[in-house]
Amino acid sequence: MDLETKNGNRHGGGRAYRSRVEPFVDFIRAQRQQRKTWQEIAEQLRDEKNCVVTFQGLHQFYRRYLKRQARPNWENEIATPSVAKLLTVEKPFQPLLAETPPARPFRRPNPDNINLNDPTKI
């Protein structure tokens, strides 16, 4: 909560909040599938991932996370994707190329061999 909110003047905006547990969602899911308790997972996060969180906080986060997944308009991704991501994920624009008449080979007479009779020798 910033100073302006404290003073009751809500201006909105600013960077959206992002939980520090967010990067470990896959890890948390995997632990839950292995029937680990929230307490155990919180301890693992602290020991293995250096992310300190209470087991209640962890549980609340995961509930909120699952709810968000059901909302299609929710922006999960950070608004400023890296250049590398742009290059790899989005297909580059490929313009539709114009067609020109295809070269269809056909037999032509040899221009040197279509002479007329010499009018001076007729």
Partner: protein
């Protein structure tokens, strides 16, 4: 490839070569064979072809430049949608460049080939160098994408520039065949003009050849009949270049004269 339809075109630039005259015999031959045909008249100065066959020939204003391309686009669109096995285009003089560029820009020869439609160019050799150069250019442009019928008209040209030339040999090498127009007397030609004026419409040569129709005197109608017979025999000989594959006649339109018994005076000396 099986040709399902034919377009006849006489794209040469020079006028007064007998192009419309020849077309009259050709249409009569097709009618005689029972082959449905229709046509387009691009001779916007005379419209002779359309006036003589108003039911089946449509007139176009060829104009110059862009208008001519529009007219030819309209013509080819109609022809390609049509079902008649043969379409005859009668062009006016000085239209060769317009026609060639329209054929090129609309890719008409390729489009026709894709649809089994093949063109036949009717070429009229003359004694005029410019006209013959024009003929050579048409040949160079189209190559083997079209068939060629060479129409010799002794009444208009002796053919000294063309006969025996390399151009003639090359055309023959590309499968071209020649026909010769009959020489019709000026008396009959004038009588045809008079008959058309009296009738107040164009008269096809088929109509004129019918004595009972009364358009021409018996002698003059007889000359047209003779010319018809002469042309029919020649068209029969080049039918593969004029009609789609399935319509090539197996029997001749005009039966050849059987050798008649000649008088044998030496057997009569006893009488």
């Amino acid at each position: 490839m099986n040709t399902t339809r034919r377009i006849h075109l006489n794209p040469q630039s020079k006028g007064n070569l007998g192009k419309s005259f020849e077309a009259e015999f050709r249409t009569a031959w097709l009618d005689r064979l029972g082959i449905a045909w229709n046509g387009s008249d691009l001779d916007d100065r005379h419209y002779t072809f359309a006036n003589r066959h108003p039911q089946v020939v449509r007139s176009y204003e060829l104009g110059n430049g862009q208008e001519s391309k529009t007219a030819l686009l309209s013509l080819f669109r109609r022809v390609l949608k049509d079902t008649a096995p043969v379409h005859i285009v009668d062009t006016r003089a000085q239209a060769d460049a317009l026609i060639t560029s329209a054929l090129e820009e609309l890719q008409a020869l390729d489009v026709c080939a894709e649809q089994g439609v093949r063109m036949t160019f009717l070429l009229f050799p003359t004694d005029d160098t410019e006209s013959m150069m024009n003929l050579g250019r048409l040949f160079l442009y189209a190559g083997d994408r079209v068939d060629y019928v060479i129409v010799e008209n002794p009444a208009k040209a002796r053919g000294d520039l063309f006969k025996g030339s390399q151009l003639e040999k090359q055309l023959q090498d590309f499968g071209a065949k020649a026909i010769t127009l009959p020489t019709v007397t000026p008396t009959t030609l004038l009588a045809i003009e008079k008959a058309e004026a009296i009738a107040g419409r164009g008269l096809s040569f088929a109509e004129l050849s019918r004595v009972e129709a009364g358009h021409l005197e018996r002698l003059l109608a007889g000359e047209i009949q003779w010319a018809m017979q002469k042309m029919f025999r020649q068209y029969d000989a080049v039918a593969n270049l004029l009609v789609p594959t399935d319509f090539i006649p197996k029997e001749k339109t005009v039966a050849k004269k059987k050798a008649e018994a000649q008088p044998q005076p030496q057997l009569n000396y006893g009488e």
